[in-house]
Symmetry: C2
Subunit: 272 residues, 2 copies
């Protein structure tokens, strides 16, 4: 495919409006205003392209090693009518907030995160997080969801932003393979009960051992806030409460770890 | 116990030498030079006390709500001949590097992390991490180790510092319940083969399904670096290589997640 010069620019000034606009995407309010988010790294952007997501703007370090995947990305962006911005490593570092930036970053339109857009029949497992505050945990849950073949991650109440640079980075590309929905508890509860679905929580209340529990598809695996866990009312609304062994002094696991241990157990049970 | 005024000070200046020394403990080189590390939070310090670890210095916010556990901590530190420093919330925030600091932090002597100090017969499961770079992952592995009743965490090659504020925080107190060792691969290999022990890695090479693998105690669960995974030679030195389902595009899990999923599987297998 012939390279067109039309949509390609070289920027070297920190105060350039495009650089400012790109940097601003590190802040949630600017992401929401623009409806756009940033993802970085050749592998992640290649995964995105394979999933059908082409960045609207591709930002490249001007001194970079050639790479066939990078060329393929540039061609895809040009064919799609997108923009290519070449800039210095310093500016790229400012944009992504990372000391050693990857040689490439992309700007994507945020996805529809309404519950109505979810197709619960698309997968046997869904992860659900309530008031999850840490973007790293959120991204890790997306990554785990991809690994266990989950359909996506449903974020209940006030969670970290799934489109933050940190969450996208921790997802290792799963932000493009997993569906993401955001909802208040009441709306989620109403949506869930409008169709098939078993809601399962890791819990200490009236719970049975997680290893032999009667999981059923579509299974919605719910974990709570990092500090406070799940509100009791939410736990009580679950169809199944299961408990994982706690052999030591601690009475809880890291939220992303709990989701993974339980998610892999559900996967094994449903495949039996 | 009567409160003694001898070892209690009130400090309000950022440039006070004690404040500088406490702040410096956020940097690894200063921790190593002092042989000391910082832990914060009432619950964490109470866990430490219950495990027999009393801080040498207890740092308190001067405007704090009274709490019986805090009083108990103060008494323990005084009875132990330790020092109590009262300071402003601002200074406490500078010391711990956290915007909303907990009302209390403590200084502890670093533990002996030589392999020789480990008693492998003390537990059926041990976690082992190679070149783990993220202190949050490291702390999460300690927390998971506590939950599965592991004996401790063995850090191979260049890992994040287990005594960093971030790792201690993510461990949720497990830094005081789990043994920690640091070693080069060659030394670990020699130590491991000098006694009973099965070394197990999550791997894609010549691996069997993790759900039905013949785990045996003491079982050493090995995970590799976040980006590169394990060196092939290390995988090949394992007694058992197991693989977890990867249903999506990704070919790996977050390191702390992999350790947890595998660790819980080993726990279940050994308890059967």
């Amino acid at each position: 495919m012939a390279s067109s010069a039309t949509n390609r620019r070289h920027i070297t000034g920190f105060s350039n409006p495009t650089v400012k606009a790109l940097r601003s995407l590190r802040e949630k309010k600017h992401r929401k205003a623009a409806g756009r988010f940033l993802a970085e790294g050749l592998r992640l952007l290649t995964d995105a392209r394979d999933c059908g997501y082409i960045p609207e703007v591709l930002v490249l370090a001007d001194r970079r090693d050639p790479h066939p995947l990078l060329t393929a990305l540039e061609e895809a962006v040009e064919a799609n009518g997108g923009e290519i911005v070449e800039t210095t490593a310093d500016i790229l570092s400012k944009i992504t907030g990372k000391d050693n930036p990857q040689a490439v970053a992309g700007v994507f339109a945020e996805f529809d995160t309404s519950l109505a857009a979810l197709d619960r029949s698309a997968a046997d497992i869904w992860l659900v997080a309530q008031a999850l505050r840490d973007p790293g945990n959120l991204g890790t849950m997306l990554r785990t969801g991809d690994a266990i073949g989950a359909g996506g991650l449903i974020l209940i109440d006030d969670c970290a932003d799934p489109f933050s640079v940190e969450a996208v980075r921790a997802s290792m590309g799963a932000v493009f393979t997993q569906s993401i929905a955001q909802a208040r508890w009441e709306d989620f509860d109403e949506w869930l009960r409008g169709g098939a679905g078993q809601l399962v929580a890791a819990s200490l209340r009236d719970a049975q051992p997680y290893r032999s529990a009667p999981y059923a598809a579509p299974c919605f695996v719910l974990v709570g806030n990092e500090s406070r866990g799940l509100p009791e009312a939410y736990e009580m609304a679950c169809d199944l409460r299961v408990t994982m062994p706690m052999k030591g002094r601690a009475d809880s696991l890291n939220a992303a770890v709990a989701a993974a241990v339980l998610g892999y157990e559900v996967l094994a049970a449903l495949e039996d």
